[in-house]
Symmetry: C2
Subunit: 441 residues, 2 copies
Amino acid sequence: MARREFIFSTLKSIFRKYGYAPIETPAMERLSTLTGKYGEEGDRLIFRVLNNGDFLKDANKAGFDYAAERASQKLIPLVSEKAMRYDLTVPFARLVVTHQHELVFPFRRYQVQPVWRGDSPQAGRYREFYQCDCDVIGSNSLLLDAELAAIYDEAFAALGFPGVSLLLNNRKVLSGMAEVAGDAAWVTNICMAIDKLDKIGEEKVRAELAQRGVPESGITQVFDILAFQGSNAEKLAFLKEKFASSEIGRKGVAEMEEMLGIVDQFGLTCAEPIFDLSLARGLDYYTGTIYEVKAKGIQFGSIGGGGRYDNLTGIFGLPNMSGVGISFGADRIYDVMEKLNLFSDLSQTGTRVLITNLGGESFTASLQLLTRLRKVGVATELFPDQDKLGKQFRYADRKGIAFAVVIGETELAEGKLNLKNMKTGEQQMLTADQLIEFLNA
Amino acid sequence: MARREFIFSTLKSIFRKYGYAPIETPAMERLSTLTGKYGEEGDRLIFRVLNNGDFLKDANKAGFDYAAERASQKLIPLVSEKAMRYDLTVPFARLVVTHQHELVFPFRRYQVQPVWRGDSPQAGRYREFYQCDCDVIGSNSLLLDAELAAIYDEAFAALGFPGVSLLLNNRKVLSGMAEVAGDAAWVTNICMAIDKLDKIGEEKVRAELAQRGVPESGITQVFDILAFQGSNAEKLAFLKEKFASSEIGRKGVAEMEEMLGIVDQFGLTCAEPIFDLSLARGLDYYTGTIYEVKAKGIQFGSIGGGGRYDNLTGIFGLPNMSGVGISFGADRIYDVMEKLNLFSDLSQTGTRVLITNLGGESFTASLQLLTRLRKVGVATELFPDQDKLGKQFRYADRKGIAFAVVIGETELAEGKLNLKNMKTGEQQMLTADQLIEFLNA
């Protein structure tokens, strides 16, 4: 928990520095807001909340029949008006539409909240996890796309990552690829297929494309493009030529060039921007820039991703709002940080000092020391009961408290305290002032 | 949102300094964990979550009949195994019991999470709000009770409160009062009645006590005690005499004396500890210290409260775990801070500087300035589009951004920038270094 709090508070302070404001949406949305947005499989995984009170009585005759027929799916809308947040994107789009007249556009927001998905339809299992999104909506300026790249850079640097690959592409480049292959409309099929390149390999992707109706010549074109190796600048030059006959392709290349130019001026230090022609991220609603982040030095898959979408709020009746957003995969970031041992450098977040409780005069001196240490910001506890010292040390040990203080008769007489390093067992006699100096060192 | 985040992050950092560790529990608990814990009214307000999948098919024959009979309450346990968190206390007790063999006792935790209660049984209304609790369980040391008083003190001081009244009492003192009135078992009735003293006045409380079977002589005893005016020390002395015949009363007085003595040594600066003989907080599960906090200088009711409980985990099969905890009423604290104008002193949390976008060469200089300002921690935005200056200023105005920067031709030529104070309209020419100095001032 303390570690996750560290990740989130690091990210939040960066979001704010870039002008993004925190928002939260309620855990429950109207069921109708959520259904139909996540595909058939997604719909099944949404948690529905029963209407309070006598929900069956309030259901109409049809509901009664559905119940008698055991037609669960038909009964749901009659006894359940609310459902639990399934992601942060749909509630955000709903919020933008609801508050469109109060919000100032371009509207920058970040949101860190749990979402809920029913893992398995049969059992009583349930799953809750955090999403962490940062989006700006209401402008198609590529400065915003570039800034999100800078946020990724600063975020992973602040979390202590030695380096990340920031894979970038543009949906219009993929459309150009499809057009060069024969038909711009094939872009969805091409995206879905090359998305699996890592998993199933070139041969199977070729087979899938053929099966989806892309002719052999088109498939060859696609893999010619994907096979191109070179720097970002070389890729831009290569594609300009390739897309001589594709207007949308050239538009995509121009967008990439402009964005990469701004990213360059930001001067990233941790994230290496890589124009990755095979990056597609399957999602059909991206219309411009596409992002994906992978940690360097470890095989772990994506720890972040996002993209530009031109019509996120269209489903709620507000068309033509272009936006761009990124996600941080908090659970995966946590796992990578653990594997790369990045948490060990963190300042300890739990209690640092346990003052033992010997009662009597020692207790009074201990109370004074406790107050002083907390005043200078050191997380300190005084053991609440006058138990055996061994038990008190064991408590410190089990809680991972680094130091224990004993104020016995000798120490009282000398106006000092005994400091024990719980890891090494080393002990030293110090005054309170020396202890504070020692702890700050 | 930004203000609420300020409140929570202030509280959390204090909790940690006192050795309390953050925990979170899932939003959904087993329905059976929650039902029966909040009284009949509470049970009705718990949100139930429908089982995923074909919930009616999985319900047994009885469920089918209940549906046909429209017997909602009987059907619920058959189609809903999960319910949403109603408070933080019950899930905490459940967690302590579940993890009793891994936890280190005394176990100190804080928890800041939303809870859900159905406001009205008929409509589709719903309500979500945050609770903020800090508890320690597994020791009956009064040091812990005193420390929580110190946490209240430090928390309200850090939030900028000029002063709060920290009302303190002890359930055993109330039991003593009941015993002196005639029967220790009357304590629940006496608590429930004197809890209303503020609202309905002495006369009606006397009537209620009489109706609940307390004889006239007993009622006189109760009000004799409540009428006593004096310092905390004078109240202790007065009660020692009054409780000559009540062992539990004397125990309560001794506990109060010990706790107040430790509180005294902590040296509170913002919270004034007041031994309030009429403080009862209705809740039957408190067994020792009782807390309530009220802001000074404003009539607002309670902004925090808590107490010691000897048997919180008993309902889940783990008896004899004494604990003590306090709550912060986040919504009410927010309201009081707004009314007392305590937020105005906060450092601004949103964007401080908007750099306007004039395109071309100016854009490049703007990008450099943007990067520099963010590097030194100033929340800055560069307007994403090259719109009319008036529109860009309007954006800054509507977002409450304090300063706007213009880098026009003159400024470019001189290597300077024009800084506009959005409130006063005042403008000045500065170098980037001067701007940074100005913003840090």
